[in-house]
């Protein structure tokens, strides 16, 4: 009863190299992409500033010099000073922290909640899905900023509220994408196979489906991170976030925007440029990740 030879593979050596290689391959491809490199360098720079920014600027971000307020860029103050005589450069460097922390935590929160939401609605379907989907539709029929204004106006502005609000608003957005992926995925036979060996829903959702929808989740995470920065900065520009005098790009712009008619453009231009580089950097990274993972 041993008539059949094993299915031997001459090319197996190549195949055998393991799962790690696939991941390394992905990483290599990422690193080779120019978009990723440029985006990554920008993001890394701002992350560095977020960690050490309070200490590496030429001045302290809070140091006031009431005798030289609204001073134009000069060798003493590369980016000029603001209306309290603080060094704009030092504040820009230090300002990376709040926005990065808020958006990172918010995105993590949103991704975790959204993934759970997407798994549950996508896997269970039926009335659970219907109900949640209607609710999500309703929430999503309002622009993000408007929802945030509504919530933050109700709860009072603070960084924690800001973070939670963005996270909560992102959850249904991410949930939708994950749901779409899950719906496609749950039709695959391996889910049927799992049910045929008596697995319960939770196992199927988290052990079978989740690993397979990680690619869209990762893509969503990076893309949303860009949006989170967008939103966090915007809300803090609208004075819904961090308190004065914490250095924060959005807040600093809103504090000084009315000054630009007097010609004090440096007080807003540089924080704006900081936001611009960071969001573009993150989006470049997201684009590259999406390009690699979607294949």
């Amino acid at each position: 009863m041993n008539a059949l030879p094993a299915a031997e593979a001459p090319a197996a050596g190549a195949i055998d190299a393991g799962a790690g290689q696939a991941r390394r391959e992905l990483l290599r491809e990422l690193l080779h992409s120019k978009t990723f490199a440029v985006g990554g360098v920008i993001v890394a720079f701002w992350c560095f500033c977020a960690i050490f920014g309070y200490h590496i600027g030429p001045y302290g971000p809070f140091d006031q010099d009431l005798n030289s307020v609204n001073a134009a860029p000069s060798s003493a103050h590369w980016f000029g000073t603001d209306q309290l005589g603080r060094d704009v450069f030092s504040r820009v460097i230090a300002g990376a922290r709040t926005v990065l922390v808020v958006s990172l935590v918010a995105t993590l929160l949103g991704t975790v909640l959204g993934t759970i939401l997407g798994l549950v609605t996508g896997y269970l379907r039926g009335w659970v899905d219907e109900t949640i989907s209607r609710f999500i539709d309703a929430v999503l029929s309002l622009p993000l900023i408007v929802t945030a204004i509504l919530v933050i106006a109700a709860l009072g502005p603070s960084n924690v509220t800001l973070t939670i609000t963005i996270g909560l608003i992102f959850a249904p957005l991410i949930g939708r994408t994950v749901r779409t992926a899950v719906i496609q995925e749950r039709e695959l036979d391996y889910v049927t196979a799992a049910r045929l060996r008596g697995e319960n829903g939770v196992y199927i959702m988290f052990a079978e489906l989740l690993p397979n929808v990680m690619a869209p989740v990762m893509v969503e995470f990076t893309v949303r991170l860009g949006y989170a920065i967008f939103t966090a900065a915007t809300l803090s520009f609208l004075n819904f976030g961090i308190q004065l005098p914490t250095p924060d790009w959005g807040l600093d712009i809103s504090q000084n925007f009315s000054e630009i008619t007097a010609g004090y453009w440096w007080e807003v231009l540089f924080p704006a440029a900081a936001i611009a580089t960071l969001v573009i950097g993150i989006n470049l990274v997201a684009d590259a990740v999406e390009g690699v993972l979607d294949r």
């Binding site: 309703a138 029929s141 622009p143 900023i145 106006a153 109700a154 900065a233 520009f237």
Partner: protein
């Protein structure tokens, strides 16, 4: 349609509850911080805000269904005229933004797709990505500094002097419209590009090319017809994002639109106004989505005509 109504209803509940969550007291909001507590209580009673939530919601909803959006706490006047004026203003701004951006974005997207992989494609894509990524207030700052301050060619103020000619009105709307446009531009451009790239790689395009059709015909008749359909309908759903941008841009350029109205109402806790404004935004969004759905169905033979019998 039915779904949109259910969504709208849920939205009304959410908005109403959020409005109720706003800490603060309507009577107090009307009479100001320095008013006597007694007067505040009396006013609260007159306003009916001491009634149970359900009753209040019911009154509010029936009012809205009859076209009565309620009375503003701050202005002590019916809300509807405020909303209509603001909405009209916002629509003007949005229209300028749309007209500036949609044709350009589609053109750019298609151009990028037709040259996929080339430097043209890459530069258009990077521009689109940056446009998409920049918050409105950031691009607003850049534009205000460049065009409003350094070059001094565009007014920083979105509201033209009273009695201004339509041309002046549009002139004043250009600067605020650009930041709005940019996000939209990036989005639509990417959609148009992706759609066109997909259509270019589709089998039916291969069929068309192999028929020996000239490239221009292939692009016009076979590629664009299929690639722009989803793009055009996406444009309609983008109205929602546009409104989000309005909040920022209207505040930045001092324009009395629906975004500024919502923002001011939230800050002054004028929640009948806030609720009405937010609900209006929801309705506009849902209407736009509906229009998008309908136009998609009308433009797409597969949905219009159903499957094979």
């Amino acid at each position: 349609m039915g779904l949109a109504l259910i969504t709208l209803w849920i939205l009304s509940v959410i908005v109403f509850l959020a409005g109720q969550l706003l800490p603060g007291d309507p009577g107090r909001a009307i009479l100001g911080p320095l008013a006597e507590q007694r007067a505040v209580t009396t006013l609260d009673h007159q306003l009916g805000v001491d009634k149970p939530l359900i009753t209040q919601y019911w009154n509010w909803l029936t009012g809205i269904l009859h076209g009565d959006l309620g009375t503003s706490y701050t202005y002590q006047q019916p809300i509807r005229p405020f909303i209509t004026t603001a909405l009209w203003n916002s629509l003007k701004l949005a229209a300028v933004a749309f007209l500036m951006c949609v044709p350009l974005a589609i053109l750019a997207g298609v151009l990028a797709a037709l040259n996929v992989g080339s430097w043209k494609d890459r530069s258009i894509s990077v521009v689109g990505l940056s446009a998409l990524a920049l918050p409105e207030f950031v691009s607003g700052v850049f534009l205000a500094i460049i065009f409003g301050i350094w070059l001094n060619v565009l007014p920083l103020d979105a509201t033209p002097p009273p009695g201004a000619s339509p041309a002046t009105v549009v002139y004043h709307l250009i600067l605020p419209a650009i930041p709005l446009t940019l996000v939209l531009f990036g989005y639509i451009m990417r959609m148009a590009r992706a759609g066109t790239v997909a259509a270019l790689e589709a089998d039916y395009t291969r069929t068309a090319v192999l028929k020996g059709l000239p490239r221009s015909t292939v692009v016009r008749r076979h590629v664009l017809r299929n690639s722009l359909l989803p793009t055009i309908t996406v444009v309609a759903t983008q109205v929602g994002y546009l409104i989000g941008g309005l909040v920022v841009v209207e505040n930045m350029f001092h324009y009395q639109g629906i975004g500024a109205l919502v923002f001011t109402a939230a800050n002054s806790k004028d929640f009948p106004m806030l609720e009405a404004g937010v609900l209006t935004i929801g309705v506009v969004y849902l209407l736009a989505t509906l229009v998008a759905d309908i136009s998609y169905t009308l433009l797409n033979p597969r949905l219009r005509l159903g499957g094979a019998e």
